[in-house]
Point group: C2
């Protein structure tokens, strides 16, 4: 994973930095197929043929190259596509690169592109992605008896973890007071409740040969694109697609939730972290924020969540995030996470969210037997 | 495949029309994973989360949904991704939909988006996709001793075939004189040498169960993104990525070129058809246009090419094209191609081109044994 943040480099330069590091670590295997997780390279980086462009920029021609996109879960979807390819027996070695260059274009352009990941009717009503997050936050706090201050525990923890990550966008601690004093984005969510706009890339080599870490399984599910079409109970504080994707991932493995030592979840907005932990089946409904307040999801606690700082502190170059989560888990499972190491971690789970709960990928990784 | 052409329907409506037809024909199986081949849904149809949007619009939630993109070979890449998924054993039934809505946005916007599929430096020099095609045409005609009039045989044949396809964008015959009298696009290419801008969708169901037609293999390769970086001989009249992709497809099968009964090749510009036929290994260098002039690649000839009218006459909704080629082959291999049927066709090959030879997918299909 490259350093995330405001980067001067182009999309291709960021992708190359991550890919070279991954390929070096893997011993420079011949790459049969590259899978690129990119959300909006045409609108954000000016290239509508990014798979070809990056295969060239990475020096991998004539390897096959495919771009995979599912909004902010593009990186996770690219890893899934590569996993299918390697398991099919047709591809021996796949390179997965998630990348996005966002800060070089004006913020209103970024906002306009990100807004297009929502149902057009709801967008026309004035809803934005932070507004969905705000509705969820308000409902979650009210429904389960939490205060606005309680919710600040999520970004405070993210920054405490991110402060130990040398490549994080924001490698610094913040206090509850900092969170509550930060500018309002969509009431009750403030700046420190929302993942930043970042540049960066992350890469993974998947191979049919034995490695240090195994992709145990991937689960993937969708939900109704328009939020207003979700008619199940507590749709605002629970994503059915997370529940189904997690069921699918576990069903394709022999692992149980009790086996999982470390989690990466998609905290694009603070409230999404406890929601996700509950939907993934690690905490009862409405209890994950209490566990976070008690320190149970912090480094040193029984179930560390977002040890790498999460989207909030590590940064959120949208296409890169799903791969960065997996890179974090690989570093954790191989004991190379330095000051943010989860001792003895052998099984990790990553959850990546595309859209407001519309497209969710859950990936299970474990130390290779 | 929907009717291609200028359609009033939205991207979702077009995709649904094709998907419903494919799913009905397959007996309405449960879909585990949808793969959508879409080139530029955000810029052309206003949606940057099209995989989720379409899974919802098609009534397939909570099936997994992934968008696959490789510029104009997006549809072929989506089919390849689905093929990997089904062969991996993790997905039993995949739905592949290629679709694009292009005519509802102003032509200058379409042109700007399509131009972004080229290397930025060459774009800055004033090159456009038709200009690359024109350079290739001029060189091919000069190098192998053909006249401009000879090249008209390609679109004349495409339209002769397309006139037999009830869902083609241009189901009408044209003469050599019509081609030579049509407006100049990029000298020597005229309007009738260039595939049109179209709306439409095509869909295929891939399943681990036995069907009428088998995807035998897929080969996929890239070439240098900047044309000026291609240093091999005759780079202007030969795409190395076609040669490598074809080698890979045949190497993954027990088929030989002699087994192939019907071909679909990516004739976005007339000259690409003979170039592709030579790179695929069916004709010697510089001879494919002669074979076309002799009628060898026409319906009734020994090796019918683009029996469905090709991109030129069938139309070219960019993301749909790679899937439409496969739909054409399936109709041919199952004897349902009506007035354009290739008698006794048992093996078909489709070649799809993303960018000016940068990303090429070759798919082999055969009647299931």
């Amino acid at each position: 994973m490259t350093r995330f943040g405001r980067r001067r480099e182009s999309l291709a330069e960021l992708a190359r930095e991550a890919a070279d590091a991954a390929l070096d670590e893997a011993g420079r295997p011949d790459v049969d197929h590259c899978f690129f997780g990119l959300q909006s390279p045409s609108e954000l980086a000016g290239d509508a043929n990014a798979a070809s462009m990056l295969a060239s920029a990475l020096g991998l021609v004539p390897a096959a190259a495919t771009r995979v996109e599912s909004a902010p879960s593009s990186g996770a979807s690219a890893l899934e596509a590569a996993w299918f390819a390697v398991r099919s027996g047709d591809v021996r070695t796949a390179l997965v690169v998630g990348a996005e260059s966002m800060t070089r274009v004006p913020t209103p352009v970024v906002s306009r592109v990100l807004a297009k990941t929502m149902d057009a009717r709801e967008r026309a009503l004035g809803l934005t992605m932070p507004a969905y997050g705000a509705l969820a936050a308000r409902r979650y706090l009210w429904r389960y008896g939490y205060s606005r201050e309680d919710l600040a525990a999520v970004p405070v923890k993210a920054h405490a973890h991110g402060a130990r990550h040398p490549r994080a966008h924001f490698a610094k601690e913040v206090s509850v007071e900092d969170v509550l004093a930060s500018p309002m984005i969509a009431d009750p969510l403030r700046t420190f409740d929302c993942a930043p706009v970042s540049d960066g890339a992350a890469a993974v080599v998947l191979t049919a040969d034995r490695g240090d870490v195994r992709v145990t399984s991937v689960g993937h599910a969708t939900d109704a694109y328009a939020f207003s079409d979700r008619t199940y109970t507590d749709a605002l504080t629970s994503f059915r697609a997370t529940r189904v994707a997690a069921e699918r991932a576990f069903a394709r493995s022999t692992l149980t939730r009790a086996d999982v030592d470390v989690l990466e979840v998609h905290d694009a907005f603070s409230v999404l972290e406890p929601m996700s932990l509950e939907d993934l089946g690690f905490f009862g409904t409405g209890t994950a924020l209490r566990a976070t307040l008690a320190g149970d999801t912090s480094l040193g606690g029984p179930l560390p969540v977002n040890a790498g700082g999460g989207l909030k502190a590590r940064g959120h170059p949208v296409g890169a995030t799903g791969v960065a989560q997996v890179v974090e888990l690989v570093e954790q499972l191989t004991g190379r996470a330095g000051g943010r190491q989860v001792d003895g971690a052998r099984v990790g789970l990553a959850q990546s969210v595309g859209g407001f709960g519309t497209n969710i990928v859950v990936t299970l990784l474990e130390v290779a037997a």
